[in-house]
């Protein structure tokens, strides 16, 4: 378990985080989302012990990372955005560095090296950026550490490698392990991140589970915003891509309107007909599933509306309906432009 308690940290006078509280439970792959400069990397470095908080406490599986004890360090693994590797071959790397991690799984590491098609006879410094990244991720997953802290793991990876990474990450999820992934590229890892943590303005805006999102929200394409309980919307070529304050089925039923599929026309006819037949799975599987990127944008641009929608308050829908004003939200405005 990773715990941040009243953590304040900053560079110079201005704090980046102020009185930050957060608990990360094992068994999950957490997504850490935030704008550039929101402090995602600093957050990971604080959890890893590479940075120390100005005040507050951080605990990683009972150990204070700022003390950098050998056992504490062996129980966490931080993979930076641009990992450094020494000028040795993979086998020599294992001999030199894996010996510091008692739980290192050499067989798994070998398997990952093969899966990621990394050259065993090449000096690590001769690897490309993407290869270095894949090597560092393989080493982290095989490290046996209970806390994996991955900074922008999909950055610089080609499309097949992103798929491999998704699969490997999903496999690495373990009931006793916390995986924390910071990313800009939400879509690359959208399906495996659960829950997502959105940091903005020096605090955690939201910590949202996938279930919570799909239970309470839907993302749909709309021809207009009128009368819809919209949290946040972006104009695109064929209308609006909007985050609505209810799952597709509930919204359609409660508003007595057609489904997203009918309005936006963005799902297959089959899905649309299934939706008409009242198949909830088809409705959420089409445009109904909450889009993480849209959720993220909404969290930044309209946090109070998202909060209201997630609050479960009985009048939340009524309060949101028809009150969305895109011009109030900077990101929505930019998207419209």
């Amino acid at each position: 378990m990773i715990t941040f308690h009243a953590v304040t940290f900053g560079y110079g006078q201005k704090p980046l985080f102020k009185d930050l509280d957060l608990d990360l439970e094992p068994g999950c792959i957490y997504g850490l989302l935030g704008l550039n400069g929101a402090g995602k990397t600093s957050f990971l470095k604080l959890a890893a012990g590479a940075l120390r908080p100005q005040s507050g406490d951080i605990s990683v599986f009972g150990s204070d990372p700022s003390k950098r004890s050998a056992s504490g360090l062996a129980d966490l693994c931080f993979v930076p955005d641009d990992p450094w590797l020494p000028a040795v071959k993979p086998a020599d790397w294992v001999k030199r560095y894996a010996c510091f991690r008692p739980a290192f799984d050499s067989a798994r590491f070998d398997r990952l090296i093969d899966e990621l098609v990394l050259d065993r006879d090449k000096i690590l410094t001769k690897y490309s950026f993407g290869q270095r990244k894949k090597f560092a991720l393989a080493a982290a997953i095989a490290s046996g550490a209970h806390a994996l802290l991955l900074d922008e793991p999909t950055n610089g990876l080609d499309i097949p490698s992103k798929g491999q990474l998704r699969r490997i990450l999903a496999e690495s999820a373990d009931p006793g392990r916390v995986v924390l992934v910071s990313t800009h590229q939400v879509r690359d890892l959208e399906n495996i991140l659960d829950p997502v943590i959105i940091v903005h303005g020096g605090r955690v805006l939201f910590k949202l589970g996938a279930d919570e999102l799909s239970d309470k929200l839907s993302a749909r394409h709309l021809s207009s915003l009128e009368g819809e309980p919209v949290i946040y919307a972006e104009r695109d070529a064929i209308g609006w891509s909007g985050l609505l304050a209810a799952p597709a089925s509930n919204a359609a039923q409660s508003e007595g309107k057609g489904t997203a599929a009918q309005e936006g026309g963005l799902v297959s006819p089959d899905a649309a007909s299934q939706a008409e037949d009242g198949d909830a799975a088809a409705r959420t599987g089409g445009t109904g599933a909450p889009d993480l990127e849209l959720v993220f944008d909404a969290a930044i641009a309209a946090p109070e509306r998202l909060e209201l929608a997630l609050s479960g308050e009985p009048d939340a829908l009524a309060r949101l309906t028809g009150s969305y004003k895109p011009e109030e939200h900077e990101i929505a405005k930019e998207a419209a432009e």
């Binding site: 590479a50 050998a70 360090l73 450094w84 510091f100």
Partner: protein, 279 residues
């Protein structure tokens, strides 16, 4: 409980050993090149001038100078990796405590490398002397043949005994502290600090002497000289005072300085954070 403690200590010693081994892997090739260059220079001078440069009469001291320079170069870069924007994070987060990392570097710079350097220098100097002897004995010149028996080679005790090696360890500790403190130009900055330290220590000593011995003329003082007598103008200090001052100087040089360097360097390593990279 006792077993647990012992296991912890053993594990810690094991990690220190692994860290020393890794440092050696990293720095070994550079040291090998340095040794090859020294061997090459001497072999060349042996072939061209008939005498190994470093082994020639009056030049044996060069070995000690080379070892000192080598140890300073290694010690001043002891924590280079820690300051590197990218490698530094890896260095910091390698699962070994800051104390283990510092001890490994200290053992390396103050013990392992001086011993290795002394051993290599002795071996190289001896080999060169053997080659030189062989060349001289096979010479047709009887004078050269007679001179062959006088060929010397360098040994660690020629460097000035244990005092030299002790001072070398102190120099290494100071250089390590500089390496832990300064990210850029650690050598120049550490040398500057060392000079400043000497000047300040000298000035404090002079002021104390001025206060206690009321001498207006301190220009002729010879505290750090080898004469063993400290004079102020026309006054000579008593042997007791002389001894007391020497003890103070020794405490500052052999006690306070290395202690300060070791603790300061360690805390710099402990406090290091990865603030140089992006947020």
């Amino acid at each position: 409980m006792k077993n647990g403690t012992l296991n912890t200590i053993a594990a810690s010693l094991k990690r220190i050993g692994l860290l020393i081994r890794n440092r050696f892997y990293d720095e070994g090739p550079g040291l090998g090149i340095g040794l090859a260059v020294i061997a090459g220079i001497n072999l060349l001078s042996l072939l061209l001038a008939g005498q190994a440069w470093f082994n020639s009469q009056g030049s044996l001291g060069i070995w000690s100078v080379i070892i000192t320079v080598g140890v300073i170069v290694i010690s001043i870069s002891a924590f280079k990796g820690m300051h590197d924007g990218k490698a530094g994070v890896d260095w910091m987060l390698l699962p070994a405590s800051p104390l283990e990392k510092y001890i490994a570097a200290a053992v390396d710079c103050c013990i392992v490398y001086p011993l290795l350097a002394a051993g290599s220098a002795t071996l190289l100097s001896w080999l060169l002397s053997l080659i030189q002897k062989a060349i001289m004995l096979h010479s047709s010149n009887p004078l050269m043949q007679a001179y062959a028996s006088q060929i010397q080679f360098w040994t660690p005790m020629m460097a000035g005994g244990f005092k030299f090696w002790g001072e070398l360890a102190i120099t290494a500790a100071v250089a390590m502290a500089g390496s832990a403190t300064f990210r850029k130009n650690p050598f120049i900055k550490t040398a500057g600090i060392a000079i400043l330290y000497s000047l300040v220590a000298g000035a404090i000593m002079m002021i104390l002497i001025l206060i206690f011995f009321r001498s207006g003329n301190i220009s002729s003082s010879g505290i750090l000289g080898d004469l063993g007598v400290i004079q102020f103008g026309d006054r000579e200090l008593s042997s007791r005072a002389n001894r007391a001052i020497r003890i103070l100087v020794d405490i500052a040089q052999y006690g306070l300085l290395p202690l300060f360097a070791v603790f300061y360097g360690y805390f710099k390593v402990y406090e290091k954070e990865a603030r140089d990279e992006v947020q």
